[in-house]
């Protein structure tokens, strides 16, 4: 019986399962390092402030789809399978830091940049220069693997939670729908939501800053700790 020719997807699936132990090791190391690095900030968080660290191993089909979408026309050249490798992805092993409010976002970034000085910055661009990046991303190698890069992101909490909802409701059940996000119409709607979330966070921080009792609460909390 003649075996059908292996497709680019078949080869990438095989590569994925070869890489999986490394991906898992990188996620574990990176998550532990980041949590440890952020302990000094976590201990000083006010009642309403949050700093949450999550991690994930990119799933096989999602990884394949990411490589395919990087090709113009989102199509593999079946005659040249050697062009494609999952190790070209930066986010097979990913850690995300969700921070609220924004001053904690900046603080977490400073702390992590000190810990990972050689990692490459790859920020998610915002919709205007004035607003700055939507999220900060860095990638590089951990001790756990010299094949797989790890990636960590620092994201304002509401933006990160919106991305999670969007991902779990739409893209996880059907990775093919990721292409929808590149259409201009969806980019415009996404921009509206993210601008709304940013305005919400900014206003929240503003009100807290102006609350005459908020400093008293902080002092009281410090006294209680002593």
């Amino acid at each position: 019986m003649v075996r059908p020719e292996r497709t680019v997807e078949d080869r990438l699936r095989e590569e994925y399962f070869d890489l999986l132990p490394d991906i898992r090791r990188v996620v574990s190391e990176l998550e532990a390092e980041i949590k440890h690095c952020l302990v000094p900030i976590s201990l000083r968080l006010d009642e309403y402030e949050r700093l949450v660290v999550t991690s994930r191993v990119k799933e096989c089909e999602s990884a394949l789809d990411s490589v395919r979408r990087r090709q113009e026309g989102a199509t593999f050249d079946s005659g040249r399978p050697e062009l494609y490798s999952l190790s070209s992805l930066n986010d097979l092993a990913g850690v995300r830091v969700l921070a609220f409010p924004r001053r904690r976002f900046a603080e977490a970034d400073r702390q992590l940049r000190q810990r990972f000085p050689t990692w490459t910055a790859d920020p998610v661009p915002g919709y205007s220069e004035r607003d700055g990046p939507l999220a900060l991303k860095y990638f590089g190698y951990c001790e756990a693997s010299d094949t797989i890069r790890g990636e960590f992101q620092i994201v304002p909490m509401l933006t990160a939670l919106f991305w999670e909802v969007e991902h779990s409701v739409i893209y996880k059940p059907s990775p093919l729908l990721k292409g929808v996000a590149r259409s201009l119409e969806m980019q415009n709607r996404t921009r509206d939501i993210l601008n709304g979330l940013k305005a919400f966070e900014d206003e929240f921080a503003n009100l807290l800053r102006r609350d005459p009792l908020s400093k008293k609460r902080t002092k009281k909390k410090k006294k209680k700790k002593q």
Partner: protein, 82 residues
């Protein structure tokens, strides 16, 4: 760098092109032309209008890509686009 703007997608929309989210291309089955998102981003509105009006011969698809697709990619896309 030129971007994907509302006016570019309006031009494509008015000329009967629709966005295929799976392949990330704007296509017209009637004209048998496909524009990649990257190509639309990297060309001006006037250039896109010119390519839309460009006369094409033969029954095959015409692909407007930044990097010309290989025969295998063309074959795969043609089978998907119909």
């Amino acid at each position: 760098m030129p971007r994907l703007t509302e006016s570019k997608t309006d031009i494509l929309d008015e000329a009967g092109y629709a966005y295929s989210f799976d392949r990330q291309v704007y296509i017209s089955r009637k004209k048998k032309k496909a524009f990649s998102v990257e190509f639309v981003q990297d060309h001006s509105e006037d250039q896109i209008r010119k390519y839309i009006q460009e006369h094409t011969d033969g029954p095959g698809w015409r692909f407007y890509f930044n990097s010309p697709p290989s025969e295998a990619v063309k074959h795969e896309l043609e089978s998907v686009l119909g």
